[in-house]
Amino acid sequence: MKRIAVFGYSSLSFEAMGRLTPDHYSLLFLAKNTDEAALVRAKGFAAETIDFRNDNELRAIGIGTDIDVIFCFYPDDSDNVFLTISARALDKHVSIIAIVDDPESAPKLLAAGANKIIDPYEICGRKTHEMLTRPDIANILDNTVFGRHDLKLAQIEIPHGSWLDNIRTDQLDLKNRHNLLLIAVVDNTLDEQLHFMTGGNPLVLKSGDILVVMGPTGKIKLFKNEVEHVGNR
């Protein structure tokens, strides 16, 4: 189970927390004051009050030990930059996702050690553009992959000793056997780039490669179990 620390009281925080299922993620909201913490608790999330400028308090909530992901969702870019620097100093491997208000702050956040920058305005602009230029695709993906329908996109890493090791992608036949579509493969031994499965030369799969598949949740789960089951099929 991944442990996520969420900083910053905003609609984005609640939106993200609401989408992360408690079965897979343990969420902790870090409020600036007791009122904020009470409001978050009222919405059903765990919350604590800390001063994010104090490294000891950050350590106390588990940064550097058991926190896997940090959301820096403060409305001020400067707060997010400071928190990112502090968290990165405490833990070199923690995944930091930060939002940016002013686009000029994005490189500063990256320099501070953030792994992913989220610009809500840019995302909104792109979304509107997609809706306008390719409404069919935007509509389908919104309602299926990103929506409430049972059609998802998933990544599956091939473990050591999996039956998929040394199998060619054209031998998989996920379409007929599993009702899944193999969208892309990340070849970890080659270039760690995404290779899209659109009828080009087939790839030989190795352990450590990541498969990106699309299909009904149940089918994905079955296939995932099959792949992760080390040994013979």
């Binding site: 991944k2 905003s10 609609s11 984005l12 609640f14 939106e15 993200a16 609401g18 989408r19 992360l20 897979h24 992901v69 959301f71 995944s95 996702i97 686009p103 992913k116 989220i118 305005y121 840019e122 995302i123 909104c124 602009g125 792109r126 509107t128 553009h129 997609e130 809706m131 306008l132 230029t133 390719r134 409404p135 069919d136 695709i137 935007a138 509509n139 389908i140 993906l141 309602n143 299926t144 992959v145 059609l151 996109l153 998933a154 990544q155 379409k175 899944l180 579509l181 969208i183 892309a184 990340v186 995404l194 899209f196 659109t198 009828g199 080009g200 990541i210 990106v212 699309m214 009904p216």
Partner: protein
Amino acid sequence: MLTRLIIHIAYSLQLSSIYQRSKRFFHNLLENPNSVIKPYFDVFMICLVMFNVFLLIREVNTPLTDAELLFEDILVGIFITEYLLRVWLYRDTHKIILEAYEKATYLGIPFNPAHAIKVIISTKLEYMLSPLALIDLLAILPGYRPLRMYRMLQMFRLFKLFRYFNSIKLFSEILASKRFDLYTLATFLGILVFIGSTAIYMFEFPAQNGHIKNLFDAFYFSVVTVATVGYGDISPQTNGGRIVTMALIMSGLGVLSFFVSIIVSAFNDKMTVLRENRVYTEIGRYNHFVIICGFGRVGQHIAAQLQKDKLQFVIIDTDPTSILFAKQSGYLAIQADASKNQILCNAGINAGATAVLCTTGNDVINVYITLTSRHLNPNIRIISRVNREENVQKFYQAGANNVIQPFEIAGMVVAEYVGQPVAFEAILGIIREEQQCVMETLCVQTDSMLDGQSLGSINFDQRKLLLIGVISENSLHSQHKNRYTIKNQHFYFNPPDHFKLQQGDLLMVMGRDYSIEHFRGLIERSRLTLRKKR
């Protein structure tokens, strides 16, 4: 009998498409500032007038040749035709007759054609007495031989240039708009010159070596001094005269500054309107374009994307800084309130616009723009940004087709990124066309190679494409599995090989852009071949 004939002719003209078309053509040629042909006509007329001016100058010391005189006659012929066309274009005569007739019929009184004719004459006279029409008439008069000797009349041909140069027209409009200020200045100047002339005459005329010999000299001296020109041919000799001159110079400087400030402020006021008109003219030339209401961060991203796609758009925003930024970025922008009917109409909501994007940061304003747009055009596509989730329903009620919630989408991105970063980056890359692969839809059109074909017979793998699914409204497909209902359509994910395509189905495919384009081309060619065979 005559009355019936007049009414019959008026109705015939009202219904005649040839008459209406010719009137529209000449209106576009002579009057419509936004028409495509008017600038060409204006340039042609400017050339004619300039050549005529050249002949005028030549005629001062050299008699004109027969060819030049013939050109003069042709020129006058063109001027007369233009003048008559302009008189004809000014209000529709048949409409005046029909209005009077219908009014009389409604009131149950006999129709009096004489009254209608009187209205027509007064309407046409109204035009003929306008300054530009008078210049046109005076430019024609020297064509009448006995009047050729009056060179002053020939000068009016030069004034005809006012008609064809927009900048000259603009300057006259600016002077007209500042009429009150200029009258005030002229009155002050008149009094100043009068006082100056009288004072200088009183001081200088009695002086023994004085240059002022009469009242006209005093007036001339005052005008030259107030204008701060000072030729020096007349100069004051007495102390009193010199004091008056100094006072005139100081006042003259004030008058000049005042005059310049009036003209500059008038230009400033007019330039905004002029720039807006230019934007509207530009929009008039667009066929399919998008109206972006709000040029904040979201609007800026959309504009950049649309420009990348080479799609046409116009931006409306109330904030002058945003508009300045939009103009600096080379976009077509109007500084106005997009919730006003007139603004959206001028921006072309019913004249070529295909979509309205409400992207301001304020839900209240976005709802209002959505509502206004839907009211003005029931069929236009409206995509609105909404910041608070509780307002989403209000946007759909107001008539939005799609609603975008920035924080909801960002939250989804964050959640997906945490769970499946690789998968999510892949799909986002495809959607944004940042990867080598793109996702597109291909329509199954009647008579194309896809119509009636089963999916198994189309070798997508060989065409270097991956079929994701089929979007369809057709109920014939309802027996297939993997069906997802989306609004009034169905999405069939990973359809089987025996899935038979029907007209109107959309294939959702993934592949390199050139693979998709090649396949699209094949579909289009197959349609044409099948049609030719039939």
